[in-house]
């Protein structure tokens, strides 16, 4: 469940950004910890320039931020930690509400068996 409220052209950018496995991997990493562009480049069998291009696509889709620190560029996931926690807990709640509904249905079967 992707909980991002955006306009249609933004959806296009978002989908395009995440249609690539390397870019999805970059997003997963920078949501957990900040990385320098060169630090990210070390993770993949591709050039620094290629990784930089991927980061630029993600930045245009508002999935990451890039900030200059000295000679390095720091990449971070954009949703702050508490929002991420809240979103996961919301998803978790959704899973459990559906389970409770199924339990309710299961118990209701007993009642109809007794009729």
């Amino acid at each position: 469940m992707v909980v991002v409220q955006v306009g249609e052209d933004e959806v296009d950018r978002l989908f395009q950004a995440l249609a690539d496995a390397t870019r999805r991997d970059i997003v997963s990493r920078v949501l957990v910890a900040e990385y320098t562009v060169s630090g990210l480049a070390e993770q993949y069998a591709m050039s620094f320039a290629a990784v930089q291009k991927h980061v630029a696509v993600l930045e245009r889709a508002s999935l990451v931020t890039k900030e200059k620190r000295g000679r390095e560029q720091i990449v971070r996931g954009r949703v702050d930690a508490v929002q991420r926690a809240r979103r996961l807990l919301d998803e978790y709640e959704h899973i459990w509400r559906q389970r409770i509904d199924r339990i309710g249905d299961l118990l209701a079967e007993d009642a109809s068996d007794q009729d």
Partner: protein, 165 residues
């Protein structure tokens, strides 16, 4: 409505759900104790759960998988830490790899289930404790990727509809 309340605490990293059912505690206990009953509600209809191992006792283990629409399998494990019939169940659960072995990077969560007799009705309280915010973040990142893959699958299906017959 079976669900009475839910509570999410992002600082304490826990989730609590309270539900009430029109059935006695012995009956509600069976939805956990009986593997066949558990399989009917643990996974969503599109991802039904199969428990290959289910040792419903203190120190017991469970191993299960959920089968997705394309036949892909998501695996999980439990370690049961307390069983007090009709009253209390606690277990630790986590993700498993394709061999059913725990994936340590994903951490584990602790679930506590209590049943309370309300004179023929049952109040069930379920609390899940997460280990760290980092664990939540990793799970959120994974969930996001899953969601995107699902959304992309829907786009493929839409495009296929437009294809000339």
């Amino acid at each position: 409505m079976a669900v009475i309340s839910t509570e999410k605490d992002t600082d304490a990293l826990h989730f609590r759900l309270v539900a009430e059912f029109d059935a006695g505690t012995e009956r509600v206990w069976r939805i956990w104790a009986d593997r066949t009953q558990l399989q009917r509600w643990w996974g969503p209809p599109t991802w039904p759960a199969t428990f290959e191992t289910y040792e419903f006792e203190e120190g017991g283990r469970a191993a299960y998988f959920m089968t997705g629409p394309d036949g892909e399998k998501a695996r999980g494990w439990w370690r049961i830490t307390a069983v007090e019939p009709h009253r209390l169940l606690t277990f630790v659960d986590g993700f498993a790899d394709e061999n059913g072995d725990p994936v340590p990077d994903m951490g584990e969560t602790t679930a506590t289930v209590t049943l309370e007799d309300l004179g023929g009705r049952t109040r069930m309280t379920m609390t899940t404790a997460f280990q760290s915010l980092e664990q939540l973040e990793q799970m959120a990142a994974m969930g996001m990727e899953e969601g995107v893959r699902e959304a992309l699958g829907q786009v493929d299906a839409l495009l296929a509809e437009d294809a000339p017959v």
